[in-house]
């Protein structure tokens, strides 16, 4: 993936949290703009919609909402740009996108519904693993 690395320039550090926040929004916009292309090149029309992918991107960003250090935000942004670049340049394959952004981290079995309401932590952990 040398061609992506050549094109990626490390921007100067954000001076303040405010600036970093702006950059995150810029990144989110860039990601949203590239989504139609992504749908096209990975042929995702039958498994996802643009709005689903958009909320996946938003939730990936919100996962790091607790980070307040501008340097760390810059680092995360850099990784996100790299990932976006890889996706947009078709450096991935269809199942990568489906596995990571359509199906999600929980895997195919997603029966977390009303069933798990009101059970103890022990039982939740028991269903997951022996340890």
């Amino acid at each position: 993936m040398a061609f992506t690395l050549r094109s990626v320039k490390v921007p100067p550090n954000s001076a303040s949290l405010e600036e970093a926040r702006h950059r995150v929004f810029d990144f989110f916009r860039a990601a949203c703009r590239s989504l139609p292309t992504v749908m096209e090149i990975y042929n995702l029309h039958d498994v996802a919609t643009v709005s689903q992918l958009r909320s996946t991107v938003a939730s990936e960003i919100r996962k790091n909402s607790h980070v307040t250090n501008p340097k760390v935000i810059d680092m995360l942004l850099f990784k996100a740009m790299e990932e976006l670049g890889n996706i947009a340049e078709h450096a991935k394959q269809r199942h990568h996108i489906i596995g990571q952004y359509v199906v999600g981290r929980q895997g195919l079995v997603q029966d977390v519904g009303t069933k798990d309401q009101g059970i103890s932590n022990f039982l939740k952990n028991f269903y997951n693993t022996n340890y």
Partner: protein, 741 residues
């Protein structure tokens, strides 16, 4: 080391200004010190005499009589030892480890390897320290040129005919010859001729022989004769034609034969199932205990990744000394076969379908709730740990049923007095006995390590052994008194010739087999045994010779926890049967319309009848408490991860209780152990033997008619007694080849 090294680094720049000797001092002992104390250290100290070394492997000296102490000098240090110790033992007490091949502390002395040569002052030649008794004032030198030269010479002779095949030898890495030739051998040999070769012997499916590697230390011969009690192995030929063998083509049929693998100092006898599987330095050792019988032998499970590769004994003087039975050593391949790895429900077509834990537990809870409380039955298997049995009992009690027991314990076993179901003398205590009366028990197949103790006692003190039961195989002298209760009644009434032996004995021991628990007239048999023990003075304040030899690892803990069924007939009327690893229950008694849940780790007999399977962890994968037949509580530790989607036994019951709406109040092992503490406090004192407090004399008198049917033999096949051993291929080979037909 962290702090000290840091301190020495901090000091280094200034160290160049310090005097020379101080500099070296700092390098040897980097300690953080205040300026005052370092100034004190700067004073040149007189060279102190190094303190005497600690004894090898914590060897302890026990003086029976203070007058027997003699003093010898080992490398200039005086040591006090009791009379009769050998020079080698004196050196061990002094902290000097003498190299040896033939000497083994639990076997007789052969003195034929000559590796333990040391110099003794005023003796013209170096002496073999293992065979030489230490005499008062003896000056032993272990580090002189003469001793070193002698060892080098012996090594050269031993290596003369030993093949240089360490890279393909299974002993490599844990080989005494390899280690000692590195430490004491010469860097070259003068031998140029051909090495001798010896034909390999076939000793059966367990012990692999490469007889060319043998150095004729005769440890295996002595082990077979003295500990295993079989005269299978011997020495053939003379001089360079000497070899170990069975003389005629014959397999080694002892139940302890695997131990020759451990005592062989070279790679001549190695484990056949473990051959070429792994190197010992790749393995992770987990110190745990064995569950295949009620002895609870201490073992080490050697594993690599998720696989158990071998099982070795661990030293425990009170239980298994340093031996284990072949079943314990070689059943581990059963842990890989026939495993249950997913919860399963039997469909309408009679086939099992894998489901999620959620669905399986929901189905079980649903059915349990539709059943009347008195029709719910729970049976713990012979490999269950105390924690899961506690959880099972609590769960069933919360469901309103008290029909819970452990298989092998019979229906109305008396769990009130611990002395009524434990080995009260203790396994090590059996060595004090001088007359044994075995009632309906064949210790050789029921508990090989207990049998080894009896054999040791018989060999050492010529103790008499009387046996009542079907014809059985013994490896020591015994009198077969009879086959059934008739003989027992004769002894109880004092009409039998063996009574005089019992009466004249100082420490008589009666061992009753737990197989009798299953008999209907067990109370009558036990009261007869108590009559005998009363008139033969078997139970005294200083000696308790009334013993019950249990069969399974779970039995003692189950009785301690009070897993006793409410009614004897409960299984015939059951509608919901919860089998927690119970495979030896007579499934024909269970009604056809009963719902059977099998929780366990192996697809064994219980599974054939089960409606739902809940996969559980085997003993090698969980932490669990087990009590052995003498009341010693020990625990297993997880050596390998669980298989598939299996869960620990107690966790399954805890989860099921929550799904069923009767949630048990413990979430962790610690919590369940504190629950156990309120029921049976002895079960939380790990590695401690808790003897029974009250003896059986408190029991009310009981007169019942004894049926005269002869005692049966409890274990048909020594090698296959539980679900793991039945799944093991090695055990199947053993039972095909080694069982006497």
């Amino acid at each position: 080391m962290g702090l000290g090294m840091l301190a020495s680094r901090v000091m280094r720049p200034t160290a160049s200004k310090l005097p020379r000797n101080l500099l070296s001092h700092f390098h040897i002992r980097p300690i953080v010190s205040t300026p005052e104390s370092s100034a004190a250290q700067a004073q040149p100290e007189p060279e102190p005499t190094p303190p005497p070394r600690a004894p090898v492997a914590g060897a302890r000296v026990h003086f029976k009589n203070p007058d027997d102490a003699i003093e010898v000098f080992v490398d200039g240090y005086p040591v006090k030892i009791p009379k009769g110790m050998t020079v080698l033992q004196a050196c061990e007490v002094a902290g000097v480890d003498i190299p040896r091949f033939c000497y083994h502390s639990r076997l007789s002395i052969a003195g034929n390897c000559r590796m333990c040569l040391v110099e003794v002052e005023k003796s013209p030649k170096p002496v073999a320290s293992c065979a030489m008794p230490a005499l008062p004032g003896m000056k032993i030198k272990t580090d002189t040129p003469v001793a070193k030269k002698a060892r080098e010479g012996v090594m050269e002779f031993l290596l003369m005919n030993h093949p240089l095949d360490c890279p393909i030898c299974d002993q490599g890495g844990e080989c005494d010859l390899q280690d000692q030739s590195m430490a004491f051998g010469s860097d070259r040999g003068r031998f140029t001729e051909m090495k001798r070769s010896v034909v390999d012997k076939n000793l059966g499916p367990l012990v692999k022989t490469v007889m060319t590697r043998c150095i004729q230390c005769t440890r295996c011969v002595r082990f077979a004769t003295e500990v295993a009690g079989v005269q299978d192995l011997g020495m053939l030929g003379r001089g360079s034609g000497e070899e170990i063998g069975t003389y005629v083509e014959k397999l080694m049929t002892s139940e302890l034969s695997g131990n020759v693998i451990d005592i062989c100092p070279v790679g001549a006898l190695t484990s056949k199932p473990f051959a070429f599987k792994a190197r010992n330095w790749e393995l992770k050792g987990t110190e745990t205990i064995d569950v295949t019988d009620a002895v609870g032998s201490n073992i080490r499970i050697d594993s690599r990744g998720p696989e158990v590769l071998r099982i070795l004994p661990r030293l425990n003087e009170d239980i298994n000394e340093e031996w284990i039975s072949d079943k314990t050593r070689f059943f581990y391949d059963g842990l890989k076969r026939q495993r249950l790895n997913d919860p399963m429900i039997r469909g309408a077509d009679g086939r099992f379908k894998a489901v999620s834990w959620r669905d399986a537990l929901a189905v079980v809870a649903e059915v349990a709730h539709q059943t009347k409380p008195e029709e719910i039955v729970g049976i713990a298997g012979q490999l269950s740990d105390a924690e899961s049995m506690m959880a099972l009992k609590d769960f069933l009690n919360k469901m309103g049923s008290n029909n819970v027991w452990c298989e092998g314990n019979g229906v109305n076993t008396d769990a009130d007095l611990r002395s009524g179901y434990l080995m009260n003398s203790g396994i090590a205590g059996l060595e004090k006995a001088d007359v044994f009366l075995l009632v309906g028990t064949q210790p050789r197949v029921e508990a090989a390590m207990v049998n080894a103790r009896i054999q040791k006692t018989v060999r050492a003190t010529q103790a008499k052994v009387g046996y009542i039961g079907p014809a059985a195989d013994f490896n020591y002298d015994h009198q077969h008194l009879g086959i059934g209760p008739q003989t027992l009644i004769e002894i109880a009434e004092g009409r039998h010739p063996f009574c005089s032996a019992l009466l004249n004995a100082k420490n008589p021991a009666i061992i009753v087999g737990a197989g009798l628990f299953e008999r209907k007239d067990k109370d009558a048999i036990f009261s007869a045994v108590e009559t005998i023990s009363k008139y033969a003075k078997v139970v005294r304040p200083d000696w308790n010779g009334f013993n019950v030899l249990l069969l399974n690892a779970a039995q003692a803990a189950a009785l301690d926890l009070g897993l006793v069924p409410e009614s004897g007939k409960s299984i015939e009327s059951a509608k919901f049967v919860y089998l927690m690893g119970a495979d030896d229950v007579n499934m024909e008694k269970v009604p056809v319309d009963a719902f059977v849940v099998y929780q366990g780790h192996h697809g064994d007999r219980g599974v054939y009848r089960a409606n739902v399977i809940l996969p559980a962890a085997a003993f090698s994968e969980k932490e669990g408490t087990y009590e052995n037949t003498e009341g010693c509580v020990q625990q297993t530790l997880p050596a390998v991860p669980t298989v598939g989607d299996a869960r620990d036994d107690w966790k399954i019951i805890r989860a099921l209780s929550e799904v069923a709406g009767v949630r048990l109040p413990y979430d962790s092992l610690g919590a369940i152990r504190s629950r156990i503490k309120t029921v049976a406090p002895n079960l939380v004192h790990m590695d401690e033997r808790e003897p029974a407090t009250f003896s059986a004399s408190l029991k009310p008198d009981f007169s019942h008619k004894m049926s005269l049917t002869a005692f049966g033999s409890t274990i048909e096949n020594f090698y296959m007694t539980d679900s793991i051993t039945r799944a093991s291929k090695i055990m199947a080979q053993c039972s095909a080849l080694l069982l006497k037909k």
